[in-house]
């Protein structure tokens, strides 16, 4: 049994590379990412599971990082927005979000793109309804969902073209 007393070390793959954090019991993955590892793309919109701005991939499954004690991530693999692309090497989803004005204030964007990535990894050619369902846990207050959905449709097209080439 893993009994994690007081502070303890958790190691996991983060965006393809091994990382370790020293945390107090019940520290969440979101806190570890933002406050210990200083990867700030993942946002803290509620801490209740209600907004989706902290959405990341855990072993390629979609999770709300504000609800996951990081202790449970030990030995597993985490992907955040920083892990899929950055300035100068944008992921097709990031390109499409930029091109379609799908990020106004940008606070929901990391979660939106991670949910979209999870969907496209499983279903490279989703219908609009499937996109809507994949985004069901992510709220956006400024952009409106239409540009976001259009960006994901466009990214899916860009990615499938990329495969053919």
């Amino acid at each position: 049994m893993a009994t994690q007393l007081a502070t303890h070390i958790v190691t996991f793959q983060l965006n393809g590379r091994p990382h370790a954090v020293t945390v107090a019991p019940l520290t969440t993955l979101r806190t570890a990412l933002r406050e210990d590892l200083h990867l700030h793309a993942t946002k803290a919109g509620c801490g209740q599971g209600g907004c989706g701005s902290c959405t990341v991939l855990l072993d390629n499954e979609l999770v709300l990082s504000c609800l996951v004690p990081v202790t449970l991530v030990d030995g597993r693999s985490v992907t955040t927005l920083e892990g899929i692309g950055g300035p100068g090497r944008l992921h097709p989803l990031q390109e499409a979000f930029h091109d379609h004005f799908a990020a106004q204030c940008g606070y929901c964007t990391a979660g939106m793109i991670m949910a979209a990535k999870w969907l496209l990894d499983r279903n490279p050619n989703p219908t609009r309804a499937e996109i809507q369902m994949a985004l069901a846990g992510n709220l956006c207050r400024c952009t409106g969902y239409v540009p976001i959905i259009e960006a994901i449709e466009d990214a899916a097209r860009r990615m499938s073209k990329g495969v053919k080439r």
Binding site: H40, T42, G86, P87, E95, C105, G106, C108, I113
Partner: protein
């Protein structure tokens, strides 16, 4: 037509790459070594007198570094519009004698981690004698309701009157002349902005005696002035750092996190972060106030509105904040963009023991527009007229005097309606089809300067 560089072009957002890659820095992304966390202890009741605030258990919790109460606030008044003459002071930064709404801030605890701060906040013991709250605006206006304001009633006083008035022409004569009287009451509940980013503030004391304040305010200079007034320091002691706001919609114009966070930073000599929970954002931040608007219009058979009388009641919640100003904007817009010769408006800015209201997108103008336009549709259906026609017949023209005594310039309502009708394929009645903003056929002549 000449191709322009920006106009008519789709231009990518300058902050877009930052947003899609997660590199944009928001206030919550600011961390300093040794940074402390602040949590607020809030009133559990809607109205009451504070008997005792016992922070001893909280202070004993390991990791707690400071407690901030009303005594620590140099000038314990938050009157954001004091700079434009809104008075008297009514809202303490931290409540000391009485609480006026559920969730009112009473005392802050500061600790090494957010978790400790949260637990410490739960350990502060409050003794409050609960009083009967006033929760309904109509009740608040009655003689039976307890006066919750020190000046003896429950309304903001506009130049000695308990409401803001607008008088133009003679409404009674207008109603006498009218062929129809059309009445309607329109009401809106409070609305929360729900930005995805909650209120966050980080304050760092600098070696030179200044405070660096990272704020997600929508109004940086407002924040600087009001923080300086509350801290009783010259504003050159404050270095305000704004930047990307994770959604505001008017909800982030209050100076609601910076003063207390600054005091905590001054008291501890360390950087302090205060990040609101989602619940605080929902239930404790200012909302768009509830509003009730009662219309009585005198209308001629040909659609001309000859008299409009409106009573508007705005629920400011417990304190002024921006409401007295918002109510004034509401008043100015209740007649709508129409030329009506006789107008009478009474607007009440009413205090209740509810979450204070403040600015939100359109700021009491939206409320007025909603009410006016539903009323216009109602008039159209009562007198059996095309709803476009009723608006165009009454639309103000250039040179018309508005009830607020402002001459209309650059009127575009008729042009906009005509363009909109075309876009949606609505055939306008012949009578209005050729109307334009400099055409006075069938309406009053413009005022002569």
């Amino acid at each position: 037509m000449k191709q322009l560089g920006i106009v008519g072009q789709s231009v990518k957002r300058s902050d877009g790459i930052g947003h899609v890659t997660g590199q944009t820095e928001y206030v919550d992304d600011v961390f300093y070594p040794g940074m402390l966390w602040l949590k607020m202890v809030r009133s559990p009741v809607s109205r009451g007198r504070i008997r005792r605030v016992d922070t001893s258990r909280a202070e004993r919790l390991p990791g707690v570094t400071a407690v901030v109460t009303a005594k620590d606030v140099p000038n314990n008044w938050y009157t954001i519009l004091c700079l434009i003459g809104i008075e008297p002071n009514d809202e303490p930064v931290l409540a000391d004698e009485e609480v006026m709404y559920e969730g009112e801030p009473i005392c802050a605890v500061v600790a090494e981690t957010e978790d400790i701060a949260r637990e410490a906040a739960s350990l502060v013991k409050l003794e409050i004698d609960e009083q009967e709250p006033v929760l309904d605006v109509e009740y608040a206006l009655t003689a039976d309701a307890p006066a919750i304001k020190k000046w003896g009633n429950n309304t903001f006083m506009y130049d000695g009157m308990n409401h803001r008035r607008l008088r133009f022409g003679d409404v009674d004569r207008g109603f006498e002349e009218a062929d129809h009287i059309v009445e309607g009451t329109y009401q809106m509940t409070p609305i929360e902005h729900v930005p995805m980013e909650t209120h966050v503030c980080v304050v760092k004391p600098e070696p030179n005696g200044r405070l660096t304040i990272h704020s997600n305010t929508q109004a940086l200079y407002f924040t600087m002035d009001n923080t300086a007034i509350i801290l009783k320091v010259p504003s050159n002691r404050l270095r305000l750092v704004g930047g990307t706001v994770g959604g505001g919609f008017g909800g982030k114009v209050d100076v609601i996190t910076e003063p207390v966070t600054s005091i905590a930073a001054m008291k501890t000599g360390r950087p302090v972060k205060w990040r609101w929970t989602r619940e605080e954002e929902f239930r404790r931040s200012s909302v768009r106030g509830a509003c009730k608007m009662e219309y009585r219009d005198g209308v001629m058979k040909d659609g001309r509105i000859v008299a409009r009388k409106v009573r508007s009641i705005h629920d400011a919640g417990a304190y002024h904040r921006h409401s007295p100003y918002g109510v004034q904007k509401n008043m100015a817009n209740l007649p709508g963009p129409y030329s009506i010769p006789n107008v009478w408006v009474d607007c009440y800015c009413v205090y209740t023991n509810r979450q204070p209201s403040s600015a939100m997108r359109g700021f009491a103008v939206t409320e007025a527009t909603f009410a006016v336009e539903v009323q216009m549709d109602k008039i159209a259906s009562v007198i059996g007229m095309d709803p476009w026609e009723i608006r165009m017949v009454n639309a103000y023209r250039n040179g018309h005097m508005r009830p607020v005594r402002k001459v209309v310039e650059d009127a575009t309502l008729l042009e906009t309606l005509k363009a909109a009708a075309q876009l949606v394929g609505h055939e306008l009645p012949a009578r209005v089809r050729d109307m334009h903003s400099d055409d006075y056929a069938g309406v009053a002549e413009p005022v002569q300067p």
